[in-house]
């Protein structure tokens, strides 16, 4: 028979465990909720002081006063601001983000369409940024002062300085129009559009699920350029931060200790100096990923990418508050989520924080 006696201690143990974990979890939930509430409140009230009349987006500029009033009432804009806000929060709690006035659809539906597009691009972008940026930063730091270092530094600084839309257009002109290496704007060639059933909303993934490599290759060739440009920007940031973290580490005494032990240079750099910077690096990467997930309006516009950045901007310019709030909420959630993940990784990777 299995160890029965243990079961008697189980409830007590569970209780203790619940206590141990419940407090921080509750605290975290409360904090997150408050952050969200703050986020919503700020967005909401900014949205209301913007001198754009949200009703106009619904009724257009030729509507009569009666139609205007009716729409205003239907949108609930005639009530006190605080009531509107409370109402909105209540709705959100029930999982309803309302209807967008500029697309005339539920915001949730819109977000389910635009967010995966951004997610797909940002993920590839950050992957490029990390895959190239980290080694470049490490390399530059290990050879501080050499010409490789200078080249990498200048390259990284360029990534800070080049306007995104300019690079996007030039990229299109060169790689799409000039060399024909990549496909043009948009997520996919139109005659491939709508063929694979959307499962995740990520075209690359969906096409693989459907087993259609043609579509996969096409989507890949569409996403390559914008993602590469985003990748370049995050690469710049990541390489820079990596280099600077690495320089800090390389001047640490324990790196000298590692050398005293006679370790190979590779080991000194990648194991000893790089080890401790994984944590701050993850924070940096997390933040720049979150930044990419906000959606780059510029890149999305240039590449006709139906992403969340564009959606949010258009909504904002039309004072389409449900859409703005919904999108902000999603972005805020992503931000908080990524922050949490990097916190967890932090704890896993840095013994000092345990």
């Amino acid at each position: 028979m299995p160890a029965v006696p243990r079961s008697s201690t189980l409830p007590a143990l569970a209780l203790r465990r619940v206590r141990r974990f419940a407090a921080p979890v509750l605290g975290f939930v409360a904090l997150t909720a408050l952050t969200f509430l703050g986020l919503l409140a700020i967005t909401f009230f900014i949205g209301r002081v913007v001198p754009i009349d949200p009703v106009l987006a619904v009724v257009g500029d030729r509507a009569t006063q009666e139609q205007y009033e009716a729409a205003r009432q239907a949108m609930g804009l005639d009530r006190a601001l605080v009531v509107q806000f409370a109402d909105y929060v209540w709705q959100v709690l029930q999982g309803d983000l309302g209807r967008s006035v500029s697309t005339n659809r539920p915001v949730v539906e819109d977000l389910a369409r635009v967010f995966p597009a951004t997610l797909e691009m940002a993920t590839i972008g950050i992957a490029i940024g990390v895959a190239l940026g980290v080694p470049m930063g490490v390399w530059a730091a290990a050879r501080q002062g050499s010409w490789t270092d200078q080249v990498i530094r200048v390259l990284a600084l360029l990534g800070y300085s080049v306007p995104a839309f300019w690079l996007g257009l030039v990229g299109l002109a060169v790689f799409y129009a000039g060399l024909g290496w990549v496909a043009g704007p948009g997520r996919i060639d139109i005659f491939y559009d709508g063929i694979v059933p959307p499962v995740t909303g990520l075209l690359l993934v969906d096409s693989l699920i459907a087993g259609d490599t043609g579509i996969f290759m096409n989507a890949l060739s569409h996403i390559a350029l914008p993602a590469a440009i985003l990748g370049f920007f995050s690469l710049a940031y990541i390489a820079r931060m990596t280099r600077s973290f690495m320089l800090d580490q390389l001047s640490q005494e324990y790196v000298t200790t590692a050398r005293v032990k006679g370790l190979s240079e590779w080991r000194v750099v990648w194991i000893h100096a790089f080890g401790p910077i994984r944590v701050p690096l993850i924070t940096v990467i997390g933040l720049s990923y979150a930044g990419l997930l906000e959606g780059s309006v510029m890149i999305e516009t240039v590449f006709s990418w139906p992403g969340i950045g564009n959606y949010l901007t258009v909504a904002l310019l039309n004072a389409d508050m449900n859409a703005v709030l919904g999108a902000t909420l999603v972005i805020g959630a992503v931000f908080i989520f990524i922050n949490r993940i990097s916190d967890v990784l932090y704890r896993v990777l840095d013994p000092r924080s345990r």
Binding site: G38, L39, Q150, S161, L312
Partner: protein, 302 residues
Amino acid sequence: MRMLSRDWYLDDAPASRLQANAGRFYRAGGLLLRNPLAVVGGAIILLLVLTAAFAPWIAPYSAVGQDLSARLLPPSAQHWMGTDELGRDILSRVIHGARITLMIVALVAVISAPLGLIIGAVSGYFGGLVDKVLMGITDVFLSMPKLILALAFVAALGPGIENAIIAIAITAWPAYARIARAETLTFCQSDFIGATRLLGASHGRIILRHVLPLCTSSMIIRVTLDMAGIILTAAGLGFLGLGAQPPLPEWGAMISRGRVFILDQWWVATMPGFAIILVSLGFCFLGDGLRDVLDPKQGGKS
């Protein structure tokens, strides 16, 4: 003159406050000058400042004078950077635009860095509830999409370069607050803060006189590095049409307007683009150099 000799600056035992401070700057300056990138960066910024100061005298034409018959001319001896869609000389506009860029950069630095600095320092110094509340607010701002926040503020305040600047400043401070807080945390437990408290100094005095000066160097570095981003955000607002009012020659707005010509009249968007890249690079180089010089963590440690 003894006062300005090298030895005077480098005297190990300065005889006056002035000499001590001068010596500090001299040393930093000397280090900076030995850093090639920093020199390049400094030169670019100096160029920017001079250009801004003497714009009306340097610029060959007026920044707003239109000549519809001479529109979209490619770069030539007369118009070194060509002309834009209203026949204005792009070089002159870029030169005059230096003033706006300088103003954006200076104002944002003046508004958001101190704001972030103070919020971060207060938060880190007091800790506890104050910290939780302030960092909560910071997080809220931080987790909001930056451009959107700026857009919303510009939309709320109305168009115009001043409002764009305020909007950018509002979005920029949270990052500084975070840095300042982290930095404050590293030394707010240190003995010299304790010693000052023991002297009976008030919290205000400690934060202002002891905590802030220590955060400033990393802040200066950060701000110079962020300048590129600030210029680009301003340009982004211009791109979305919410930055400077026409016909102000704001570089971002110029690129934004010129982008439809990018395939055929490349110079309209590219020239101000180069200006932005150059100045951003200048700030980045300088910031990098400053980090090598000012950052106590780098070098100078035995």
